[in-house]
Amino acid sequence: MELRLTVNGAQVSGDVEPRTLLVHHLRTALGLTGTKVGCDTSSCGACTVLLDGRSVKSCTVLAVQADGCEVTTIEGLADGDELHPLQAAFHDHHALQCGYCTPGMIMAAVSLLRERRPLDDAAVRRGLEGNLCRCTGYRGIVEAVLAVAASEDARPGAAGAAVAR
């Protein structure tokens, strides 16, 4: 079946079998292997991408369900050589060890920062419930997300920062 997506800002089209999961389409057909598969039960969140701006588990979305939609993966965050603020904060706060959960964790955090303000420690933990990390113990991850929230809030006239749902 013919599938058209906008992935990280670029139009892509191709033919997919209806049973293809979005994560497999991204990784195999489009070569975007930043998005990981960590489980078979929709539990781990390693496959998290943005679908029309909202975090979803791409292992639990059929590629055909995303037809015509915008998909953002971890590859779409950095601006050239400049890391996205969350990527930089994960680096600064030791929010990763093996890194397997990190792409999904960051994409979930992008969505969280857009949708739920203000954020405190408990709200970040709750917001990242769908993402499991086997290595870090979460402390650094929560700190990284809070650091980005704080720096966005501090930016004068930051329109996106005060948006609450």
Partner: protein, 271 residues
């Protein structure tokens, strides 16, 4: 795992979806948010030959107030949770929606899918039972309304016919005190047991995961109507239930949890 092959069709309208279901018969399944169905397809517990996707049908999502709340079947949990109308007129439902899975699941799963799947562990189903909701389904013979109470028939079995689509959930508006309690061991998990309470002059109490279907707790409600205390009423929470025993909890532990959660919810709702 990858699902077994199936054909995929995108419905343009409710009528179109109904016609496609009628044409394909037993082998077709409706696809909404996919967050119950796709996990089943991946495990190959379900092997439909055709999926009819209702995700793009215009007019199936959103919340309106027409005296009751009218919630479109395709309204996603996150939008139920964020709706000012739901917050004002049925806050119990917003609270239940906020407890489902995790953010990613709430971005995809729909209120209609949660009901049609017929899972006894559905959080919103219990809230909607306590709220006295009705569902509107449309099929080849037109539209019918079914009290949610009569909708759940057995484990993953409902009163909807194979060629019918649930289009709308209707919820009476209420300002009665309420509470939702959910017990699980890990944040994103399903309820081991949960309960929804709508207090007020005729209290209604519904249980998550205490039987083969979401269900009310009539003995608790009757005891409250007689003037029993929260504790006395809550002691009756597991009467008549058939809770499952599984890796998360024994039936006996679930019975205990039901009484504790119902008591907590009743106390919270009466504060």
């Amino acid at each position: 795992m990858i699902p077994a092959p199936f054909a995929y069709e995108r419905a343009a309208s409710v009528e179109d979806a109904v016609a496609r279901l009628a044409r394909h018969g037993e082998d077709a399944k409706v696809l909404a948010g996919g967050h119950s169905l796709i996990p089943l397809l991946r495990l190959r517990f379900a092997r439909p030959s055709v999926l009819v996707d209702i995700g793009r049908v215009p007019g199936l999502d959103g919340v309106r107030d027409d005296g009751e709340l009218s919630i479109g079947a395709m309204t996603r949990y996150c939008d139920v949770e964020a709706s000012p109308l739901v917050a004002e007129h049925a806050p119990l439902l917003a609270a239940a929606a906020a407890e489902v899975g995790d953010e990613q699941v709430r971005h995809r799963g729909t209120i209609g899918g949660s009901i049609c799947h017929g899972d006894p562990a559905s959080d919103v189903a219990a809230a909607l039972l306590a709220l006295g909701a009705t569902v509107v389904v449309r099929g080849p013979g037109g539209e019918r309304r079914i009290a949610l109470e009569e909708f759940f028939v057995g484990f993953l079995e409902t009163a909807i016919a194979r060629d019918e689509i649930l289009v709308e959930v209707r919820v009476p508006v209420t300002s009665a005190p309420w509470a939702f309690e959910k017990f699980n061991r890990r944040a994103q998990d399903w309820a081991i047991v949960g309960c929804a309470v709508l207090a007020g002059s005729e209290p209604r109490v519904a249980l998550v995961n205490m039987a083969t279907t979401p269900r009310r707790a009539p003995l608790v409600e009757e005891a409250l109507a007689r003037g029993a205390s929260a504790r006395e009423a809550a002691d009756l929470a597991s009467e008549g239930t058939e809770p499952p025993s599984d890796a998360n909890a024994s039936a006996q532990f679930r019975r205990h949890l039901a009484s504790v959660l119902v008591r907590r919810a009743l106390e919270r709702a009466s504060r």
